[in-house]
């Protein structure tokens, strides 16, 4: 598998660390325990496109948002997480 790092270019997947679903957003400090429990534990497991967080550990050390299809591993887009957050 190859990941097109926006900073480093087309690289082998072994350079990256996978984290998981990019959708959960850290709740506000006063959101309460239930909101944090959802944030920490609840994940969708779609068969299809999903945006995920990957870390270019053996490269530029950027966190990336990778849009991947879980059925085919086809990657539709890769963005720097810092930019995706804006």
């Amino acid at each position: 598998m190859r990941v097109k790092c926006p900073y480093c270019g087309d690289r082998d997947v072994h350079e990256f660390v996978y984290r998981g679903d990019a959708a959960p957003v850290r709740p506000a400090a006063d959101a309460g325990e239930a909101a944090f429990a959802d944030y920490v534990y609840l994940r969708d497991n779609p068969a299809g496109p999903i945006a995920e967080h990957w870390y270019h550990a053996q490269g530029c050390r950027n966190w990336l948002v990778v849009e991947r299809d879980t059925r085919s591993h086809a990657i539709a887009a890769v963005r720097l997480a810092r930019e995706a957050a804006r």
Partner: protein
Amino acid sequence: MSRLAAGGLIDRSQPLRFRFDGRDYGGFAGDTLASALIANDVRLVGRSFKYHRPRGLLTAGAEEPNALVTLRAGARAEPNSRATTIELYDGLEAKSQNRWPSLGFDLMAVNGLMSPLFVAGFYYKTFMWPAALWEKLYEPLIRRAAGLGALSGAPDPDHYDKAHGFCDLLVIGAGPAGLAAALAAGRAGARVFLLEQENELGGRLLSERHEIDGRPGHLWAREVADELSALPEVTILRRTTAFGVYDDRSYGAIERVADHLAEPLPGQPRQRLWKIVAKRTILAAGAIERPILFGGNDRPGVMMASAVQSYVNRFAAVPGRRIALFTTSDSGWQVAADLRAAGVEVAALIDPREGAAPMALPDVPLFAGGTVTSTHGRILRSIGVRAAGGRVTRIAADVLAMAGGWNPAMGIGCNLGSRPIWSEAIHSFVLKAPPPGMALAGAAAGRFSLAETIGDGLREGMAAAADMGHEGHAPPMPRTSDDKAGVAAPWHVPGGRGKAFVDFQHDVTDSDIALSVREGFRSVEHLKRYTTLGMATDQGKTSQVNAHALLAMYSGKAIVEAGTVLSRPPYLPVAIGAFAGHHRDADFRPVRLTAGHGWAVEQGARFVDAGQWKRAQWFARPGETGWLETVSREARAVRSGVGLCDVSTLGKIELSGADAGVLLDRLYINNFSTLKVGRARYGVMLREDGIVMDDGTTTRLAEDRYFLTTTTANAARVMQHIDYCRQILWPELDVQAVSVTEQWAQYAVAGPLSRRLLQYLLPDLDLSNEAFPFMAAAETRWRGVPMRIFRLSFSGELAYELGVPAAYGDALVRALMEAGRPLDATPYGTEALGVLRIEKGHAAGNELNGQTTAADLGFGGMMSTKKDYIGRVMAARPGLTDPDRPVLIGIRPVDRVSRLAGGAHLLPTGVPDIAAHDEGHVTSVAFSPMMDGWIGLALLRRGRERIGEHVRAVDLLRGTDVEVEICSPVFVDPEGVRLRG
């Protein structure tokens, strides 16, 4: 000798000697072991897996199921090597397998008599018997009786290489289609990788007598190969098999660099594992001929027609004196014509297809509409033939060549999950939806005639090159000789005499498949598991399609409904050594050495692995009787004098930016934005689920610059976590982070005399308590080099840590030793470090075990209530604040002389040793020179309320049961007087 007097592509000027099963034979350069055995009239080459039936060569290629031999001897012995793909070299030594005492007389052949027991599902049915019998009796018996070659058991003396390739176009297979594709794309200027599993390029052209532009096909192949070799952007990898297709156009291939030699040349790898990333791929792997299913089809002497053709045309080795052909394909007729051209007698040509006559064969007895119903002889002597009218005759023949049609070799094309579909046009499966970037050409695409094959290659090669922006003129289409490709569906002769084998290597017959269907295992996937069909080392290359045709027939379905299975990598067996490559023994993983490693070696250090790091464990001195004596001396030296310890392996991270303090406040349970410049503070960070992640000290070097340390084990993880926080959670913060673990060497100088030692080294620095108190930090220079001084203590003594750029680490530790000579400064290792921290009750890896909260470890008071930080909310959950949780305490044996064991469980006195009474466990133990006895840290339920109570430390693995007293985890200097001295 059955070598033709002339012809073939062998080099008769280079005779070679080889040895098979202890006998000496001769062959020529260009032979395979299989062709040389045929030329020497060796017709029995192996025994089958289950029934130990005698077997001869079936094929001439990588799909060979029968002729598995052990190649070479000693540590280089390689079991299960296919004789058909072993290039002959002088001095080659090979042995047959799975027979005892000899190939000719195999006692295990008795299994054949018990064949009714070994039917489909045998293993599963046997599992129904008492389990104890299975483990003790059946499994060892089966394992001895069934099987393949044995490994040598000796370390592999050769090395294996890895390589990465990137290209516009990967062409898999250098037959006519692959050569044409590579030529078209190569001339257009594309970067091409051409892979061929053999040394010789040409594929079928080497074995057939077809002509291209009026000359033998193999000459055309050689010309194309020569031109390709001269093109700068074309790489030809010979003896290389593509074994797998992976995501995003990545391919795995194995290059057998030195397998054709007795041993690799000096410096040469035995094999090379390729990872190839190809924008486009053309799969031109050809096709595999399928056997015909009839009783006795596994008798030595029954071979594939294409194999007979290959042995005769390419190797000038004739497998028999009188050869009969049983063919349902036009290609079988061509083989008969080739045999006649070579002067070999053709006993009969039997073609069940009514009226098929693709060519004239004037002096061959034809049985149109006939079938072969039986075979006879220990090694084939005659066959029974039923003519179209029903009359059965016996025909003398020592070889029966089967031509049952062709299955495209598209195996790796299915690796990503694309399912082949049945084609009525070619009566086989074809791949209609290859993986992204891949096209099929020639026989692999189900287009078998030579003209179609070359046409395919040229067209696909041009298309791929054009896709990559390389335009060119297509090479002209050459003229080829007539090549008919008519074929019937997979053919089964019911009711013949003897077993009709489908999977030769795993001994699966037509009746096994019928049984599987009767017993309800009717999907292709169930059939495979139930009968083990296609699960041998040949992965069913000759059996899969026939089996699925039978399955369809027995279950009353059309084969298009029954479907076929997908193949997974590897296409051929690949040695594990090739995947390991150079990563074995000492090079298994990278080794990280600290700057002071050489110094530690000189000091007699023994090292321990801490992740990839080598850390000094202790420094034994002459006369010391064991590690405990050494470690106790080192620990005592720190408590009473001064010791030196390399702490460079701790993770080090620099944070800078206006918001660095804000980020730290969110990372740690305690505050860092309030830390004064020039001061350090201990901190604990949690995971978002409220469990402790790591701990360490953080120093504020400037208003906007912090230096934090992590545990050795968590260095990478914490770096990743910090990057996650500043890039994803709070990208608005102005803060940069960089790992400087390898940039700084750091040494702890610990003990009551540490200040004096430092004063020798840095006479101008005021290290008094007033000027440089506990937790002070400063940046200075030493011999003109930047130096950081921290007054930190892991040991609980007056102590400092000194950091210098890694290049000066060695110089610093030597200078420290020199300055410390009058004070008897003592190097100490990780064991003494452990003793000292256990005496002080400091938590380390054993306590930060991924299950403990800050409160469990006694850091509850550090948890800020005035700010948000990672893990704050979840750490407040009832389960993590339960007063019944195990918490950190100290333990000592009640009798003061017993030894403690880490991992022991804590149970009340007077209860049975069962899990229901488990109250916690011992995390760390040490012999404490200060306490003159064993001490330990433990996690014990409600431990802090139970100081003084006695419990038992029970270790059922080591068989120990020690009564211990619960005490404070701080054994030495609980008031911290020494620390601040």
